[in-house]
Symmetry: C2
Subunit: 482 residues, 2 copies
């Protein structure tokens, strides 16, 4: 009943919010950013106590969060994101072609689930919320139970921004409660038109399955599970051993491995150079000091999963750091063979934490077989020199089809928030590989195209009027013009 009231209010607010001007929504997003900045100290203190994340990281994450809000404000103030397409009338055609114009419009109230590993940037006022509000959708946030105080403080900042910007009172609402029951009710509510989620495979799949039970289907954008395979090609491995070991040890243990893009599986061809790399990488990982994980549940899952991996036939421990204290993660590197991986699908499952599995492949054919056996991924990384990329072109072609983001000679951690970013990928990396949850095109998750035929200019939305009053880029009779 409480959720029904919430969704009714979100739908009512949408009937007003959907018609706000882009400029008004941009100011609203900037005001949220300002309200968050005004609470920075207190937010960091609360989030640090709730998530164990270091203060410096949280400070940086708040900056990323306010930058994302600013980025979407800039996007909608500029305005071309609506993809205005205009085909002018052709009265001389048989039959005469009417004037037809299309643009993107918001779908309705959406439900956003906060992520535990980004208490700011992918939670209450994170990228999902920012993109939905920018699109003109109203938002119901399910706060993550691992950082309830942080979530409520951010919601308070949003509430102040709503009031200061004169937006409808229920443009954004916040609900808490038992994850499963509340989540189910939110996803299945008839007035919900879309869902955003970042978290575990189990969590995202449950939401997708709830949505499948609805009378009216809605999209679920769940970013779930990825082991981000990195292939180390021979020439790079031999020529940059020490540097690669340092770079990837840092990437694997960054934030105690609590990133969607953590490189959880490393692949290479059996060779002395690879053995040397494994040794140096192991040494570098062993030197990393254990730190606290986000919460008890994640720490227990990591500890149990790590033990399980290390007890699996064919898997051996390469190295581990000093033993962790309570709540801490245990940075570790394990190894196995391509053959073992091909016979044991469990080795391809995500283990959320500072762990990576080096897969030593007997030859190129086995490497290709391993790559083809992998699930869909957020990222895949090619570590190779020009000599490698020339020699292993066919392997790289196979590797490049695995993920939403294909990277050359960069670690996969670190996701730029920009126009070209794709933080998405084939299932189970996400539930809908056609969309991204990071970068400006994340806004497309909350809209649909609507076309207006034979409209008079005064009746058209501003983005489609003849004079182009918003000054946006438009595709007019198949030419981009502004």
């Amino acid at each position: 009943m409480q959720i029904d009231d919430t969704m009714q209010r979100a739908a009512a607010a949408f009937e007003e919010y959907r018609y706000t001007t882009p400029a008004a929504r941009a100011t609203f997003l900037e005001t949220i950013a300002a309200e968050i900045n005004a609470r920075r100290e207190a937010l960091i203190e609360t989030a640090h106590a709730e998530s164990n994340l270091p203060v410096a990281r949280l400070n940086g994450e708040i900056t990323r969060t306010t930058s994302q809000l600013q980025l979407f404000a800039t996007l909608i103030r500029e305005g071309s994101w609506v993809e205005a397409v205009i085909d002018t009338a052709r009265p001389e055609h048989t039959p005469a072609r009417p004037d037809i114009r299309r643009m993107l419009l918001p779908v309705g109230p959406v439900v956003i689930f906060g992520a535990s590993n980004f208490p700011f940037a992918f939670s209450t006022a994170g990228g999902d919320t920012a993109s939905a509000l920018a699109a003109g959708a109203t938002v119901v946030i399910k706060g993550h139970p691992a950082h309830p105080g942080t979530s409520l403080m951010i919601f308070e900042a949003i509430t102040h921004a709503i009031s200061k910007s004169g937006m409808p009172a229920h443009t954004v609402q916040h609900v808490t409660g038992d994850g499963n029951a509340t989540g189910r009710e939110l996803v299945m509510h008839p007035l919900t038109t879309g869902v955003g989620f970042t978290g575990s495979f189990q969590g995202g799949k449950a939401l997708l399955d709830y949505a499948a039970q609805r009378t009216v289907p809605i999209p679920v954008f769940a970013e779930m599970s990825s082991i981000n395979p990195v292939v180390f090609y021979p020439d790079a491995l031999a020529s940059q051993t020490a540097q690669l070991a340092q770079t990837f040890a840092a990437s694997i243990t960054l934030g105690m491995g609590q990133f969607c893009t953590n490189p959880g599986i490393l692949l290479g061809l059996k060779s002395e150079a690879l053995e040397d790399f494994i040794s140096q990488l192991g040494t570098a990982i062993a030197a990393v000091a254990p730190q606290k994980m986000l919460h008890q549940g994640i720490c227990e899952a990591y500890t149990k999963g790590r033990s399980h991996m290390l007890e699996t036939a064919g898997v051996t421990l390469v190295s581990e750091s000093a033993p962790p204290a309570a709540l801490e993660a245990w940075p570790s590197l394990a190894r196995t063979t391509g053959k073992a991986l091909l016979t044991n699908p469990a080795l391809k499952e995500e283990l959320f934490g500072p762990y990576s599995l080096m897969v030593v492949c007997a030859d190129k054919a086995e490497l290709v077989a391993v790559l083809k056996s992998l699930h869909g991924q957020l990222t895949t990384t090619i570590v190779g020199t020009p000599a490698d990329t020339a020699q292993y072109k066919d392997v790289i072609t196979t590797q490049s089809t695995l993920a939403g983001r294909v990277i050359l000679n960069n670690p996969p951690t670190g996701v730029e928030v920009c126009a070209a970013m794709v933080h998405g990928g084939p299932f189970p990396a996400t539930t809908d590989q056609r969309f991204t949850s990071v970068g400006t095109s994340a806004i497309r998750r909350w809209v649909r195209p609507v076309c207006f035929q034979n409209f008079t200019d005064d009746m058209l939305p501003d983005a489609l009027k003849a004079a182009n009053p918003l000054g946006i880029w438009r595709q007019v009779d198949n030419q981009f013009v502004r």
Copy 2:
């Protein structure tokens, strides 16, 4: 087992076809069009025998089909449809931003279900197939059992084109068989990556439900059910009565009403002018000669559905044509009140054929209530003068949210194949309102964005190379350039 073989071949062909050049695929599409044209006489003869559609209509539909193939050839030869987005490196940023580039790439083999009401333009080499092949996806066609000979002849034309263009032999395959079992197997096959369908709500919903049972979710683009509400506003009704009656009688009975965009529900405010319009519309519809429907099943469903509608409490017959012969449709106009419609949801269901229901609303509030009660639609039409659109702005606002295409003073039948077209809309008009099945952006159903980070120029796809060798429009550092 047979379907498994088919999908394995489609997946194998995809590994080759996905890397063909846009120019080669464009030539392939044009060759299909040429092969169809070369068989035009025989195709019309066969399709006329199988579908009862008039020869002139079938001739026009073949032209539309070859035009669609040509349109997608032009689209991919021009090339900007891939949405190339480039964010160049920013080494001066902290941390340094790598070069990130994104474009659309095909997802894999897709399954297309032919439609009964368009044996050419939405069947074997119709819009779905053309858009998928243009995108670089391989296609498995489930031929519609109502026109098996036509479907096989078209497939033969495609096979010749494959051979002449040097495309992989299994780029397009054709399967027949019992609709339900074969359809289920095709949709649930692990190698299938997308589904296109045009047909009944029952058919589309079944495919969507099969897809929900898959381990790996895939999109189902089903265009299903729409009654295309037309609102006649008072001033237009009073000033253009006779002309509107002729225009809409023609639209309702065009092709014996066997179009997705057939205006199945008409709305107006109780008045003398409305009564006059109903009377003239009824007279015009009664003057239309019955013609044969597509097949026995559709005729029986229409006959039964029409009787059921006319026996419903609150519904009365306004007029009907001369009685139909066997297999023929019975053009009919019925009427009811807004109140009756609001209490009987069955009146809002699609009746596929030359039938429309005029809903007389007691006042503006009832009209708005009726509009709000309607399901999602492909189209909705506003018939109004400038005086109407000024006076009924709030009603028009409500009406405009109903559909994928909002039309002013045109009948909804006739769907332009152009860049701005949206032939889609909220459920149950389609299963995914974010996409269109007509027009050039239909190609987006078969692709996903992939981003390339820190790639060297020689390793990038042509669409993303620095020199822009394809000469396409690209968004570079947030500016559209070519």
